[in-house]
């Protein structure tokens, strides 16, 4: 079947089977490989995107379910000239990523958190990220990056 959705502000149409997941559709059909797939049990959160403004694991939706929706992915987060948005910049400034594989999902989850809760506590950040697994950072600098992106005071990046 043909599925049409608005992805990062552009109308995109592609073929999908009934069983095609949104994550597969984005990666394989639309070539938006920034959305990553790290598991097959909807646990890791590397595939988080926004559908009609809500953060979802794109492996938990069929592409066909997203007909007519507005989808936002990591590719649409920076300005067209490549300037990072506030959350992305905080992740770089606070070393909130290492291998980068979980990062798209982390950034998309963080954006949803800060939209609903502009100044979260550390505990609220950690709780919100329960569905996003990172194996590299121990979460320390991800949490700091999100707190910094929310405009809260966070100490400098490294003891020097």
């Amino acid at each position: 079947m043909k599925v049409t959705m608005t992805v990062n502000g552009q109308t995109r149409t592609g073929e999908a089977e009934g069983r095609t997941l949104l994550s597969t559709f984005l990666r394989e059909t639309l070539g938006l490989t920034g959305t990553h797939v790290g598991c097959d049990t909807s646990q890791c959160g590397a595939c988080v995107v926004h559908v009609d403004g809500k953060d979802v694991k794109s492996c938990t939706m069929f592409a066909a379910e997203c007909e007519g929706t507005e989808v936002a992915t990591i590719e649409g987060q920076a300005a067209p000239d490549g300037t990072l948005n506030k959350i992305q910049q905080a992740f770089q400034d606070y070393h909130g990523l290492q291998c980068g594989f979980c990062t798209p999902g982390m950034v998309m989850s963080a954006a949803a958190l800060l939209r609903d809760n502009p100044t979260p506590t550390e505990a609220e950040v950690r709780e919100y990220l329960e569905g996003n697994i990172c194996r590299c950072t121990g979460y320390h600098n991800i949490v700091r990056a999100i707190l910094a992106a929310s405009g809260q005071e966070v100490p400098a990046v490294a003891a020097e």
Binding site: D40, I74, R126, T137, G138, Y139, H140, N141, A159
Partner: protein, 790 residues
């Protein structure tokens, strides 16, 4: 003052930009024109005889190009093992064949038996369901001690038993150790398990192979920490493809932690299959497959005895370890419980004699190999646990017991009784730092506060040493390594002064593209942004051994320094010519070559331009161009060390443990990028806390892995972790590499598990549960509660 560039600066990572914008290029992002898809049919039983494989129904299905079985690999070799251990009696280990697809028997759940190659992934997957396996199930061998009993079923029928090797180290010290233990004033004994773990980098493994029939060239894109090693092992030992016809590319790789070092059957499969079907072939692991096909880590059972004299000085250590190899020998598996474990059993201490016995055992489980730390966490865990137990039994302060047995700062270089020589260290300094950072003196007051809230507070200390940058190659060759352990770098200076460094090291999260550039920038005195780091492609990097064992900056960084030194030496000759001065008078500072004692100078860019536009150039003395390669083979390991402290609260009602704080005081020698170093420690500590509290592989009696998904295997999540307090200000630079660096990648995972468990035991003793001597990892609420109520 923070530096704004070069060595010692927390330069922001340049690689972050592509990862933050979705522009990374991971292996699964690579699609080759005309590609087909592979789906493996894996054994769902742990042990069995293959009577037959009926592929006819699958082969008749839409889109199926071919269904492969072991018959299609008769001319291929087995997956090779890269390290041959020699046993106590001078005999080589037992080394069974590891076929690409199972031959005759299946030996673990997940063992690949057949593979479908089809036009689409869905077609391959559907057809795989139609492959009929006729397997007679055999009794599986799971428990290591039972596997060694007379009459136990054999994992490999052609071997004499399930014993891979029985290794003793140092064999000549055995009698002295036995004697010291017999005559000791105190002997403290502990039996413990180092739990089996799955590395779980967030990116599952992927392999895409593309054979070009016109040229006979193969290209393999794969999720590897060491593409040259894969090219060598697969080309030379498995598929007989000469290296000049085989290009291996490991592009952006989403974490490794050891599990992406090894040459896996799936890589050889897609490479061979691409030629057979004459199309590119892609395989992407699911997470469920990763749990049963990525090499696991740890899985040791150990009895350790620590002997002390009447003054509480350690007089001997004796250990008896069973190490699980799984069903086949993964690439470096035999070296982990031996040379990466036994050589660390002196720890930070002056124990005069040590004897380590290791029996490596085949079982019907997924192969086990290096996982972050690899052998060194196992060594540290047993030693630091038994020392804590000794302190408790003797009624002395655990910090003081360690301190009095430490090698003293003035005693370096120090020859241990386990064959290694520590070049530098200051364990007193790191211990003092950790105690100061954690307000050790104020702990009793905090414990009282916890008690008032009905909680049991515990303080756990561990000190560790590790050996990184395993080398030199001639030594590791004597120890059984079938590879060298040098590293390489080529430094290519361009005409207008920009530099491309091609390194054999591989970055899969470590940030080499930033930190390696900092080193070269510092040496020449130019902006970091003038330097680009290339890695991961055998087509454009010199033969290198890749990244693992915290070796990249110590070995790969040193190769880069040597190559850059050659560049600078040649550039000085050119500068001398341009300024009509003597070469010995030329100085390089801040990117300017000057003649000592004069105001004459030429800029870096003037010299590089002269090298490539050699109009005014000493052509009779030196060649044009500015490009140099170096291979660096270290003379010794490096020995990072540190003191780690974990503070916990245990709920005596439920057994739930909460980590209140975790502190790491490390000595990594000199540090290139403090921000990156601290990030490495954070990640390592999180994995160590994960091992200590959450993660575990559980097999049932049939050999089914029960913890085979993120629903069942407890990965540390954000709300499981505290903020970490890390410090690397205690620095005793390495004396035998040019940067004075030691490596930081694994430290966190090595020092943290004993700190956590020591803290839990301390909390229980303070709460009056003085009969609890030990709880095996992971210290789950159920285990803690059971220990309190036993």
């Amino acid at each position: 003052m923070p530096k704004d560039g070069g060595i010692g600066a927390s330069s922001k990572r340049r690689e972050d930009v592509r990862f933050l914008t979705g522009d990374g290029n991971y292996t699964d992002d690579i699609n080759v024109n005309g590609q087909t898809y592979a789906w493996f049919v894996r054994s769902d039983v742990a042990h069995g005889t293959i009577n037959g494989i009926d592929t006819s129904a699958a082969e008749a299905m839409d889109g199926v190009l071919k269904v492969f079985t072991s018959a299609d690999f008769e001319s291929a070799g087995g997956i090779p093992c890269g390290w041959q251990v020699t046993d106590r009696h001078g005999q080589p280990m037992q080394e069974p064949k590891h076929p690409i697809l199972a031959e005759g028997k299946v030996r673990h759940v997940g063992d690949p038996v057949a593979c479908v190659v089809a036009e689409t992934l869905e077609q391959a997957r559907d057809a795989a369901e139609a492959v009929e396996l006729d397997i007679d199930e055999l009794e599986p061998v799971l428990d290591m001690k039972a596997a060694l009993a007379d009459g136990a079923p054999k994992v490999h029928d052609e071997l004499t038993s399930n014993l891979c090797y029985d290794w003793g180290f140092v064999e000549e010290n055995k009698e002295a150790v036995d004697e010291a233990i017999k005559s000791a004033a105190h002997v403290v004994t502990l039996e413990l398990t180092n739990n089996r773990l799955v590395a779980n980098p967030m990116e599952p493994r992927v392999a895409v192979a593309d054979y070009n029939r016109a040229t006979g060239d193969y290209t393999l894109y794969t999720t590897s920490q060491n593409p040259h090693v894969i090219r060598l092992l697969m080309g030379a030992f498995v598929l007989s493809i000469p290296e000049h016809k085989l290009r291996v590319v490991a592009p952006d790789v989403g974490g490794g932690f050891g599990s992406k070092i090894y040459h896996y059957a799936e890589e050889a499969f897609v490479t061979h299959a691409s030629k057979v079907v004459n199309r590119p072939v892609k395989w992407t692991s699911t997470r469920s497959e990763a749990f049963i096909s990525d090499a696991h880590g740890r899985d040791h059972k150990t009895k350790i005895e620590l002997a002390l004299d009447e003054n509480h000085m350690f007089t001997a250590v004796r250990t008896d370890t069973y190490a699980n190899m799984g069903a086949y020998l993964s690439t470096f598996a035999p070296s982990i419980p031996t040379w990466l474990h036994g050589t660390l059993m002196a720890g930070n201490y002056k124990t005069p004699v040590v004897y380590v016995n290791v029996k490596a055992v085949f079982t019907n489980t997924t192969p086990v190999d290096a996982y972050r730390g690899a052998g060194r966490p196992e060594a540290t865990y047993q030693l630091e646990r038994v020392i804590d137990k000794a302190a408790r039994e003797l009624g002395v302060d655990p910090a003081e017991l360690r301190r009095k047995n430490f090698i003293k700062p003035e005693e370096f270089p120090y020859d241990t009784p386990v064959a290694v020589t520590y070049d530098t260290g200051n364990y007193h300094a790191t211990l003092d730092k950790a105690l100061e950072m954690t307000d050790y003196a104020g702990f009793e007051k905090r414990a009282e506060e916890s008690k008032a809230r009905g909680k049991l507070r515990g303080y756990g200390l561990a000190h560790f040493i590790e050996a990184c940058g395993i080398a030199p190659s001639n030594l590791v060759g004597q120890l059984g390594a079938r590879a060298g352990l040098y590293e390489s770098a080529s430094v290519r200076v361009n005409a207008t002064g920009g530099i491309t460094v091609m390194t054999g090291s591989h970055s899969h999260g470590q940030g080499h593209e930033t930190s390696f550039a900092q080193v070269v920038a510092d040496m020449i005195g130019i902006d970091e942004n003038m330097i680009e780091i290339e890695h991961g492609d055998t087509a454009n990097t010199p033969m290198g051994m890749g990244t693992y064992g915290s070796r990249s900056i110590a070995v790969g960084g040193s190769a880069m320094v040597r190559a850059t030194e050659k560049i600078i030496n040649k550039a000085k000759k050119i500068a001398a010519h341009l300024m009509e001065a003597s070469e010995s008078d030329i100085e390089l500072k801040d990117g300017q070559f000057s003649v000592a004692g004069t105001d004459k100078s030429v800029a870096w860019g003037d010299v590089t331009l002269a090298a490539y536009v050699p109009h005014n150039y000493p052509l009779e003395e030196i060649e044009p161009g500015l490009e140099e390669t170096a291979f660096y083979d270290p003379s010794n390991f490096t020995y990072p060390s540190g003191a780690y402290v974990c503070e916990v609260e245990v709920d005596p009602e439920t057994g739930k443990v909460e980590v209140l704080g975790f502190t790491a005081a490390d000595d990594f020698g000199n540090v290139i990028n403090p921000m990156i170093v601290e990030g490495q420690v954070h990640g390592g500590v999180a994995q160590g806390i994960g091992q200590a509290m959450l993660e575990n592989c559980v097999y049932d009696e049939n050999g089914q892995l029960l913890s085979a998904s993120y629903m069942d295997y407890t990965m540390p999540r954000a709300d499981d972790m505290p903020m970490f307090d890390v410090d690397h200000s205690c620095q005793t630079p390495c004396t035998h590499n040019p940067l004075g660096v030691k490596g930081c990648g694994e430290a966190g995972a090595i020092g943290s598990p004993p700190a956590v468990v020591n803290a839990v035991i301390d909390a229980l003793h303070r709460g009056g549960f003085t009969n609890v001597e030990h709880i095996d990892m992971p210290v789950t609420p159920a285990r803690v509660w059971a220990a309190m109520n036993s």
